[in-house]
């Protein structure tokens, strides 16, 4: 496999055409980068021979802040990393602290968490689909995607009052009881939604321009994906059926039936199909979950002051973008000694260089889109 060096491009060589290699700069303010990502590209004609991602424009020192807040105080901060999937971030953090304290959220809380997290996965994939298609030149899907996403955000708003940075979960369970019509809302949304996914597919799946712009672009083989640490839909589109929901179940996932969609080619088109199928699987999980929400408490018996015993834990969940891991070290005080966040976007972005080599400048936009990165999470 190719090396993942991000050398500083010191040598500019003369190309076959007799022209010098050209270095161009994309970003940090560029419509396709979904945030502030700067990419330096080295070109031979229009072909990319080397690339370097320059990140950190959105660095806020989240891990440092964690060391100066109590366990509960830090929970809202994690929503601000991957801000289009705040619920998933919160789930990972709360479960990691629960594991550190050796408590478990009550069954009712776990099921409600699962429902909201799966809705969040759909919402996150909808943002990805809309913007990715927009980047490639399909203007229509984003309007449909945001229409459906709105329905999910309404459910979040009814549940906890917030739409984006929800802080929906608490360490030990939930703050809020499910509102009366939650099951009804989720059921209605899920029943309608599969048709909507079919609708998106009629716009794109067999569209000649879409296929031409995505098939064979940004190929990542299974070996490369494993070596580069890719996770989530990126590794599954390369043929590795790895999903933490199945491999190491958390929340209530072990109770439900769902498939892990995989594809073989590892190109942009396959990653598109994997995410489309994932949305359908998410509705399947939600529909099973609302059938039988256990009754009982929503909060485990934990004190107001959390002092987890000395030790450490690594807990990972399958966030919409991939493996979101929290490595927390406790020194038995109210504040964590160290919180390390393993961001899926950051590590998936590292595969960018391997994927982009040999392609044209126009494909860079497709490849950034297909990685589904959120710069708030890359930079933390």
């Amino acid at each position: 496999m190719s090396e993942t060096t991000n050398s500083g491009f010191t040598n500019v060589e003369t190309t076959v055409l007799g022209a010098d290699e050209l270095i161009i700069n994309m970003g940090p303010q560029h419509p396709s980068t979904h945030g502030v990502l700067r990419v330096k590209l080295k070109l031979d004609g229009e072909k990319i021979v080397d690339s370097e991602c320059i990140i950190g424009y959105l660095h806020r020192g989240v891990e440092k802040i964690a060391e100066h807040r109590t366990y509960q105080q830090f929970a809202p901060y994690v929503d601000r990393m991957d801000y289009v999937a705040a619920v998933s971030n919160g789930l990972g953090y709360c479960e990691a602290v629960e594991k550190l304290m050796a408590v478990e959220a009550p069954p009712r809380a776990r099921v409600i968490r699962t429902i909201l997290t799966e809705l969040q996965r759909i919402a996150s994939h909808l943002v990805w689909l809309g913007t990715h298609a927009l980047d490639i030149g399909a203007l229509t899907p984003i309007f449909y995607c945001f229409r459906e996403r709105e329905e999910i955000l309404k459910i979040f708003e009814k549940y906890c009052g917030a739409r984006l940075t929800t802080h929906a979960f608490r360490i030990g369970g939930l703050q809020y009881e499910a509102y009366d019509t939650l099951e009804h809302d989720v059921e209605r949304f899920c029943n309608d939604f599969n048709e909507k996914v079919d609708e998106y597919e009629t716009l794109l799946t067999e569209n000649r321009i879409w296929v031409g712009r995505t098939k064979g672009i940004g190929i990542l083989t299974a070996d490369e994906a494993i070596a580069l640490g890719a996770t989530g839909p990126v590794i599954r589109a390369s043929g590795v059926a790895w999903d933490i929901r199945k491999a190491m179940p958390y929340a209530a996932y072990s109770d439900y039936e769902f498939d892990i969609p995989t594809r073989k080619n590892g190109d942009t088109y396959d990653r598109y199909l994997v995410r489309m199928e994932e949305m359908r699987q998410s509705t399947r999980i939600c529909l099973q979950a609302i059938q039988n929400i256990p009754t009982g408490p929503i909060m485990a018996r934990i004190g107001k002051v959390l002092k987890p015993p000395v030790g450490e834990v690594y807990h990972a969940i399958e966030a919409p973008k991939g493996e979101l891991g929290y490595y927390i070290v406790s020194d038995a005080t109210t504040q964590p000694y160290r919180v390390r966040i393993r961001p899926p976007s950051f590590i998936n972005l590292q595969a960018f260089d391997t994927m982009v080599r040999g392609h044209l400048v126009a494909d860079v936009v497709a490849i950034i889109g297909t990685l589904d990165i959120v710069l708030g999470e890359v930079d933390r």
């Binding site: 950190g56 594991k99 050796a102 190491m248 393993r342 590590i347 590292q350």
Partner: protein, 158 residues
């Protein structure tokens, strides 16, 4: 765990299980060798995460922490190596290419240097930044005030 101990003997300093997760503390000098063994013979072919923890009162203040995963066993393993200030740790970026950016982040935030890394420079902070923010002696209000003044034009440097 037993197999690691048998194979490397003294190089495995400590081994224990914390909250059902296996942890091995290894000699920093042998980190690369043990990593290769973990990857090839023990099938831990996936590096989930590489990070560090600062314990300023300890003689060797840093823990370099690797979280590994094995697809075939569906198991995780955590390797740790202790490193003193200014001690150079062998890079594992040619064992798991994932480590490339992760080691750069550790260098950026803790100032730990990795030997054999292809491109060890800051990744999140600007290249000219002074200091390593995730060290415990770097206060939360500390900034590289000279850099902030010069590049952002903020007089107070905060």
């Amino acid at each position: 765990m037993q197999r690691f101990k048998k194979r490397f003997g003294e190089a495995i300093r400590e081994a224990w299980i914390d909250r059902k997760q296996a942890i091995l503390v290894v000699d920093a000098a042998t980190l690369r060798e043990i990593s290769l063994y973990a990857r090839d013979d023990e099938t831990f072919n996936y590096l989930s995460d590489l990070t560090a923890v600062d314990w300023p009162r300890r003689e060797k203040r840093f823990d370099v922490v690797l979280n590994l995963y094995s697809f075939s066993k569906n198991e995780r393993l955590r390797l740790k190596a202790h490193a003193a200030d200014n001690e150079i740790v062998p890079s594992v970026s040619n064992v798991w290419p994932t480590a490339n950016w992760l080691e750069r982040e550790v260098y950026d935030m803790f100032g730990i240097r990795f030997e054999g890394h292809p491109n060890l420079k800051r990744i999140l902070l600007p290249d000219e930044w002074q200091g390593y923010p995730l060290r415990k002696d770097y206060d939360i209000l500390t900034q590289d005030q000279a850099w902030v003044r010069e590049n952002l034009g903020i007089e107070s440097g905060q």
